[in-house]
Subunit: 218 residues, 2 copies
């Protein structure tokens, strides 16, 4: 039986492997810029601090094969990785909570290069509703469900509201058809099993860095 | 022998515990807002999806003790956690690479509320050097070492340069006296042992979310 999806095999990629793929991608893009055409897992390993065996295993989840002695063809590996990681497909998103971090993310056009297209922001504050940031319109939160079902049709919700309304906002996003929540709040929201939740608590990362800095010898 | 530092004990907190503390902080701040005065680890556990035993153990690293039956005093726990996590101390930082994400982080005044004060941005592009974002001055990269040693005296460097110059920029930051690097690039930079490195690759998080979304039943 022939598989119709070329990505059938990726269903099984473990998360740690998936998280390492962008590192390889960043490094081989650098090599390409330096004029290289081929790269071996041993070369990547030297720079990335991951064993060549692990790299070869991680890359076995994507649809590419290296050649003995020369390794992977760089252009092809970049194509395959970007495709595999979803960076070349447009994922429609909305953002909730146009405060300091939310406004910053709307202004970051880098996200679109990585496949996340934020089509609208939502907030409740009069001074921000019906304005635009980086040409992205901001609407009132109350308009979300109707707008998302009729026109926006976003699948991803970026959550940058105050932590104390994170859970109720997440519930509301799901009610409006969102299937994946990118949670930037430090609040541990809960979602049903069929909803994807990605936590990116940059303030927790800050705390770890502060703590380690304190432990350095002066 | 009496310990001079009240935070002597925190040297031993494991990173997973440290990463959970901001979740507890966010939740008890919400409880405070709802008018509560005391919280037990069982109550936190119900909301956060971490066992009460784990929470009690995590909180044993910070300088607080709960009372039988009533639990922890909320105001005190907030104070102790914010202090412990370093959110109440000003950590001086500089930011390298005032592109899309870099400019967004300069504009995010939320970071300062969590103890990170970015005093200057650095870039090489004429159109941005000698401008300001959110009242933070942007200087030419070449000026960094002198400025940091004489006036800025930052300990933390936020790295938002293009991935292909991440390593050389990190080396330069360290040369200028930076002891902690917050790496937002997808590049796996390497640093000496006495330098703290915190990787926050938001694009890797995106890749994980995209991948999981693809696996959802339609």
């Amino acid at each position: 039986m022939v598989e119709s999806s070329p990505y059938q095999h990726q269903r099984n990629i473990p998360e740690p492997a998936l998280r390492r793929l962008p590192w390889y991608l960043a490094y081989i893009k650098l090599m390409k810029k330096q004029g290289e055409s081929y790269v071996s897992s041993t070369q990547i390993a030297k720079k990335i601090n991951v064993s060549p065996t692990q790299i070869a295993k991680d890359l076995s989840y994507v649809n590419i094969s290296g050649k003995t002695r020369v390794g992977y063809e760089i252009d092809q590996l970049i194509d395959v990785l970007e495709e595999f990681l979803g960076f070349r497909f447009v994922h429609k998103a909305v953002l909730f909570g146009v405060g300091s971090l939310g406004a910053a993310l709307l202004a970051d056009s880098g996200l679109e290069q990585y496949g996340l297209k934020i089509l609208a922001g939502f907030d409740i504050r009069d001074e921000i509703v019906n304005t635009k940031i980086n040409n992205i319109p901001i609407y009132h939160t109350d308009e979300f469900i109707e707008k998302n079902q009729k026109t926006i049709k976003a699948e991803i919700g970026v959550l940058t509201v105050p932590a104390d309304i994170a859970q109720q906002t997440a519930d509301y996003l799901i009610e409006g058809g969102i299937r994946g929540i990118w949670n930037f709040t430090p609040f541990r929201i809960r979602v049903p099993e069929d909803i994807v939740l990605q936590n990116t608590s940059i303030y927790a990362h800050l705390a770890v860095m502060f703590n380690r800095l304190k432990q350095l010898p002066k």
